[in-house]
């Protein structure tokens, strides 16, 4: 008899607890929700969510330089301190109010939806990893929110995943351009490329880069052969076995899309063992490391910057301003993720200024097919019905200036956007394998 009321009490307690817990959670969530909604009344503001890697392996080489550029550009745009034609304050008259989010998250889509629904952003600018872009692009279309992918490289975004984009834009060229241009650079500088080898990281970026490069070389140099293709793990750091394979197969050209620490490790280990003397080495992202490595980077290495960024950027008042402002603020020169972020924000500014408002539909209408000048030259939204940018690109050969102690690029060759990008409506790899139909170089 004594037992039953006690269990009853326990039951009650449990129900009370669970229900009160649910109620508490619900109230708590509602409460936090109510806070930020009525904050943007007095000043005209445009809320922009920025998503880049702020932690993890990709933060150092990509995420943080991009965030830094975003901070610099937001401040300068709001102050109107960028050289003409960008010397008006704000975008379409509104001040940018940024929210930064870490891309390094397992719940990227839920985080994106939170930006849109809870924080009520007017647009999202971000995404470095191609995996993120693949997941976010359909989500952006579903959420009907202007989303600007500023960096990720996979051509699949508009070729396969979102074939009829309305809200998704990409203001950076895709990765195909880098490797087609690398192959063209070799041909144009008269380097022998009969026997090519590749060393690329064994993940999507490395595999795609090598596929595009080897296919382009096969088109440009009929009869060329692949000496060896090496796919070490990402972040491996030790490339002894791969370097031996590169040495014994005696290629004319070695292609690598390594980035960050992996690239620096390969340069140091490979140059010690003579890879760079025996073969011409093409590093598609090499520009990012040239100032840091200085004399350690072997002369004659062919360097790219995933577009005409950094040292490959053409002279312009905007570029000079950008480099100086960035250096003054952060103590390093901007690398390509910084350029691409600046380019995305200037695109938004141009579109909003043209539309005269920050209304989503107006900005989308203006951004579609837009052309504007970034710090690294002209950008035009020419592909995917005006949603995908193309851009000129450039490659150069490394030369260390011993007297001045300065890293320089010589024999810089510029390629027109139409020369290294497929025309609208053609898949990248089909375009390469079909012999670059419709490419116009000069």
């Amino acid at each position: 008899m004594r037992k039953s009321p006690r269990t009853g009490a326990k039951m009650d307690a449990i129900f009370k607890n669970t229900t009160s817990l649910f109620a508490a959670a619900a109230i708590g969530i509602m409460g936090t929700l109510a806070l930020p909604t009525d904050a943007n009344a007095e000043d005209k503001k445009v809320k922009v969510g920025f998503v880049t890697f702020l932690s993890g392996g990709a933060a150092g080489p990509f995420g943080v330089p991009a965030r830094n550029a975003a901070e610099l550009m937001i401040q300068s745009i709001n102050a109107g301190s960028i050289p003409a034609p960008y010397n008006t304050a704000g975008v379409g008259g509104a001040m940018i109010d940024p929210i930064f989010v870490d891309e390094n998250s397992k719940q990227k889509n839920a985080d994106y939806l939170k930006l849109v629904e809870k924080d009520g952003v007017d647009m999202v600018v971000g995404y470095i990893s191609s995996g993120s872009c693949k997941a976010i692009a359909p989500e952006a279309e579903k959420a009907q929110k202007l989303t600007i992918l500023f960096d990720c490289g996979t051509p699949q975004i508009f070729e396969e995943i979102v074939t009829d984009p309305k809200y998704t834009f990409r203001t950076g060229g895709h990765a195909t351009m880098d490797n087609v241009a690398a192959a063209r650079y070799l041909a144009q500088t008269g380097a022998s490329a009969q026997n090519v080898a590749g060393i690329n990281q064994n993940y999507a970026w490395g595999q795609d880069s090598w596929r595009d490069f080897s296919a382009s070389i096969a088109q440009i140099n009929k009869g060329s052969a692949v000496a060896t293709e090496q796919f070490p793990k990402i972040y491996a750091g030790q490339y002894g076995a791969e370097i031996s394979a590169l040495l014994t197969s005696k290629p004319d050209v070695v292609h690598s899309s390594f980035w960050g620490g992996d690239m620096e490790a390969f340069i140091i280990q490979g140059s010690a063992r003579g890879v760079f003397e025996r073969s011409k080495v093409v590093l598609t992202t090499g520009e990012t490391a040239m100032h840091r490595l200085g004399a350690q980077m072997p002369d004659g290495t062919i360097l790219g910057a995933r577009g005409p960024h950094g040292d490959l950027a053409p002279e312009s008042a905007l570029n000079t301003w950008f480099r100086k402002a960035y250096f003054d603020r952060f103590g390093t020169l901007p690398t390509y993720p910084s350029y691409k972020m600046a380019q995305a924000l200037l695109g938004v500014k141009t579109a909003a200024d043209k539309a005269g408002s920050t209304d989503q539909d107006a900005v989308i209408g203006a951004l579609k097919g837009l052309e504007w000048e970034g710090p690294s030259g002209k950008v035009s939204m020419a592909l995917a019905n005006g949603h995908q940018a193309i851009q000129d690109t450039a490659y150069g050969t490394y030369k260390y200036d011993k007297d001045a102690g300065k890293a320089t690029l010589v024999d810089v060759v510029r390629f027109k956007a139409e020369c290294v990008n497929p025309p609208a409506g053609v898949n990248s790899i089909d375009w390469i394998n079909g012999g670059f139909q419709g490419a116009s170089c000069e």
């Binding site: 326990k10 669970t18 397992k106 629904e117 990893s129 995996g131 693949k134 999507a204 596929r211 796919f231």
Partner: protein, 327 residues
């Protein structure tokens, strides 16, 4: 009828309509976190039932990924998008793989079990990362789910998937609760205390561990399928050790006392993370780490002990007042 249901099960059944209702009450973004937390929560549940036997699986992401990829590949290569078929395929794939691997894993305990499960999950990570056909590390996208020929769109699709996710997750939790309260559940606790004695009592510890392992794999795969469909995207990160480590962490933080703990714990930690990112986007890990540290220091039995502790103090009060009433 109610006799056969214990408190946890009753609680779960009551929670089901509440869970479904919040989709209409709370804003979309929170519901979205609830939904993805249910997917990953199921995997944490898989980790937790193994913990009951004293086994820490540091590779539960393996089955999370197997579920997601099995469903994804069915959709990608065969064009199947029916949720029930995809669930069945995910379960089947996990069942077959775990049955085979179980013969190996059931012989190991402690750190060897943890390391071996980790190793197997990382093999899959390596394989998927180097498979270009499956999008390598970028993964690939899944279509919107259909239901026995019915293909809802937009808001309806979202709510349908959410409702079914709720039902499946609660169903799994109740089934696992039954399992833990059943013979093998108790054998598992005995294995954790003293495996040798279990064997002397005439039952097979290997068999119990094997069954537990398979069950954990199957619920994790269900979680994987539901999570992947909610996200519309799978990538090898699902089986990376960082993901698996998170599941272990969630299980430890939530406590292994109750079947609902990992589900609730997953959601709470997710919300803590979201606000940490909002509060300090550059150093959110420090906030999250501090919270985890505080939980471990002050709630060594996990978040769930907050509920049971309260209950105990009430019980003690009751017990204390009872004799007084008798006097």
């Amino acid at each position: 009828m109610t006799k056969s249901l214990d408190r946890t099960e009753l609680g779960l059944i009551i929670a089901l309509p509440i869970l479904i209702c919040i989709a209409f009450v709370l804003p979309k973004w929170i519901v979205n976190y609830v939904q993805v937390s249910m997917g990953t929560g199921l995997v944490a549940l898989g980790v937790m039932i193994q913990m009951r036997a004293g086994l820490v699986s540091f590779g539960q992401g393996l089955y999370f990924c197997v579920g997601g990829y099995a469903a994804g590949m069915m959709a990608k290569f065969l064009g199947v998008s029916d949720l029930f078929v995809l669930l069945a395929i995910g379960i089947l794939a996990a069942f077959v793989l775990s049955t085979i691997l179980g013969f190996l894993l059931r012989r190991y305990r402690e750190i060897f079990y943890a390391m071996l499960s980790l190793a197997v999950s990382m093999i899959l990570f390596g394989l998927l990362s180097s498979t270009e056909e499956l999008g390598s590390t970028d993964g690939f996208n899944l279509p919107t789910a259909t239901y026995l020929g019915w293909a809802p769109e937009g808001e309806t699709a979202r709510l349908t998937l959410y409702t079914i996710t709720c039902i499946v997750v609660i169903g799994c939790a109740i089934a696992l609760n039954r399992f833990l309260k059943g013979p093998i559940g108790y054998i598992n606790e005995a294995i954790r205390e003293n495996e040798l004695r279990v064997e002397y009592l005439g039952t097979s510890a290997h068999k119990a561990v094997h069954i537990t392992y398979i069950l954990a794999a199957v619920v994790s795969a269900i979680g994987g399928v539901l999570w992947a469909l909610a996200l519309g995207h799978v990538d090898p990160e699902m089986t990376n050790w960082t993901t698996s480590g998170q599941f272990v962490f969630v299980s430890i933080l939530s406590g292994i006392g109750n079947i609902a703990a990992p589900l609730l714990g997953t959601f709470i930690l997710e919300i803590v993370r979201v606000y940490a990112v909002e509060f300090s986007p550059n150093t959110w890990q420090m906030i999250l780490g501090t919270v985890m540290l505080l939980i471990i220091i002050f709630l060594p039995k996990g978040l769930w002990s907050l509920l049971t502790r309260k209950k105990k103090t009430k019980q003690e009060k009751l017990a204390a007042s009872a004799p007084a009433a008798g006097e």
